[in-house]
């Protein structure tokens, strides 16, 4: 499937800390690309990943998978700058090792 509607930019990697910015739509067609990018960071040693979602316009339950796979790998995830429509997804789900910041 096409995944042109989402980009993942690694802004900084500093030891166990990584910062990533995502833009576009996170759904079934793009989540695998996101998952791969984040898992790669964990494999390279990242344990704290900060994800800036300011430019994410859509996230559905299938897309969640792309974000939370790293939580299963014992990394801590911080999600920042979510647009209201994206944030509603987290109003109905509780995920361990996840921090949400404005």
């Amino acid at each position: 499937m096409l995944d042109t509607s989402m980009t993942v930019t690694v802004r900084a990697v500093n030891g166990q800390h990584a910062e990533v910015a995502i833009a576009g739509e996170i759904d079934m067609s793009t989540e695998m690309k996101l998952r791969t990018s984040l898992v790669e960071l964990v494999e390279q040693g990242a344990k704290e990943i900060v994800v800036d979602l300011a430019d994410v316009t859509f996230l559905d339950s299938s897309g969640l998978r792309g974000l939370i796979e790293v939580v299963r790998l014992d990394a801590h995830l911080t999600l920042r700058h979510m647009q209201p429509a994206v944030r509603t997804v987290f109003d109905i789900v509780s995920i361990p090792a996840l921090t949400i910041e404005d």
Binding site: F58, S61, I68, D91
Partner: protein
């Protein structure tokens, strides 16, 4: 000309083979589509069973092409004790369909021993975590019990859009955030109980309903859904049909995700 024709001649068998290959591909695609349709029929109960004392209806619209991950089930646990479950397995295709069918079987076979909806989701989560697939799902589950003619609904959500209660022309979301199923061993689910009085309706749906988009890229959203559900209702079927018609009209009948919606009404 005859020389040119002579040159073309040897190409013909290839062309025939090419056409044959196309026909084979088309036939195989048609078989796959028929298989998908058959599979879907086994996963989705075409109409919910008759629940004595309640009015229950459901609508399911798969996204075009593949077996979707949405499912629902309505079944009797004991006399005056019913279970309604709706869920959304991540992804599509046969792998998602296997998880869908596993989820339905686990819920059906464990409902009697686990009367609390949150307990039942814990059992389902354990089964899905053990399952070889890497897919996960969101589930909302309602247990309906009738005592002396009074219906009480206990419900829980595992990362699924909260059920909507409609009462006297207003709509309320019911539920507390819960875990996604099939990913983690440690999960949390919470039960919420309400009395389902005469005229009340509980509406369960999947996110394909509210995530429908129009040409201006706007989402259908919960507000529109709540608005259409609080119109004058004659039956559960009317409510379900009106809601889905509104969702489909909003996105000019181009649903990019599955849509499933179940209405449980106390008539």
């Amino acid at each position: 000309m005859s020389e040119a024709a002579g040159n073309i001649e040897p190409i013909r068998p290839d062309t025939d083979e090419f056409l044959l290959a196309i026909r084979r591909a088309e036939e195989s695609e048609a078989r796959a589509a028929a298989l998908i349709h058959a599979l879907q029929q086994t996963l989705i109960p075409p109409t919910p069973p008759h629940v004595p004392g309640l009015d229950v209806a459901a609508v399911y619209r798969p996204a075009v092409g593949e077996v979707g991950g949405d499912f629902y089930d309505v079944f009797e646990v004991a006399d005056g004790d019913w279970c309604v479950v709706i869920g959304d397995v991540s992804g599509k295709g046969t792998d998602a369909a296997i998880v869908t069918s596993t989820a339905r079987h686990v819920v059906r076979s464990s409902a009697l021993r686990h009367p609390e909806p949150s307990d039942l989701l814990r059992v389902l989560n354990a089964a899905l975590v053990e399952h070889p697939t890497t897919r996960f799902c969101t589930v909302a589950l309602v247990r309906l019990r009738s005592r002396d003619g009074v219906w009480v609904a206990a419900l829980t959500s595992g990362g699924h859009p909260f059920p909507i209660l409609t009462r006297h022309g207003s709509a309320t979301k019911l539920g507390k955030p819960g875990s996604l199923l099939g990913l983690f061993h440690n999960v949390e689910f919470h039960d919420v109980s309400i009395k389902l009085a005469k005229g009340d309706a509980l509406v369960l749906y999947t996110d394909g309903v509210v995530e429908g988009r129009n040409d201006a890229d706007e989402f259908y959203g919960e507000d529109r859904l709540q608005h259409v559900l609080t119109g004058p209702a004659i039956s559960a079927q009317t409510m379900a049909d009106q809601a889905v018609a509104d969702v489909m009209a909003f996105q000019s009948s181009q649903a990019r995700d599955d849509i499933a919606l179940v209405v449980i009404r106390n008539p």
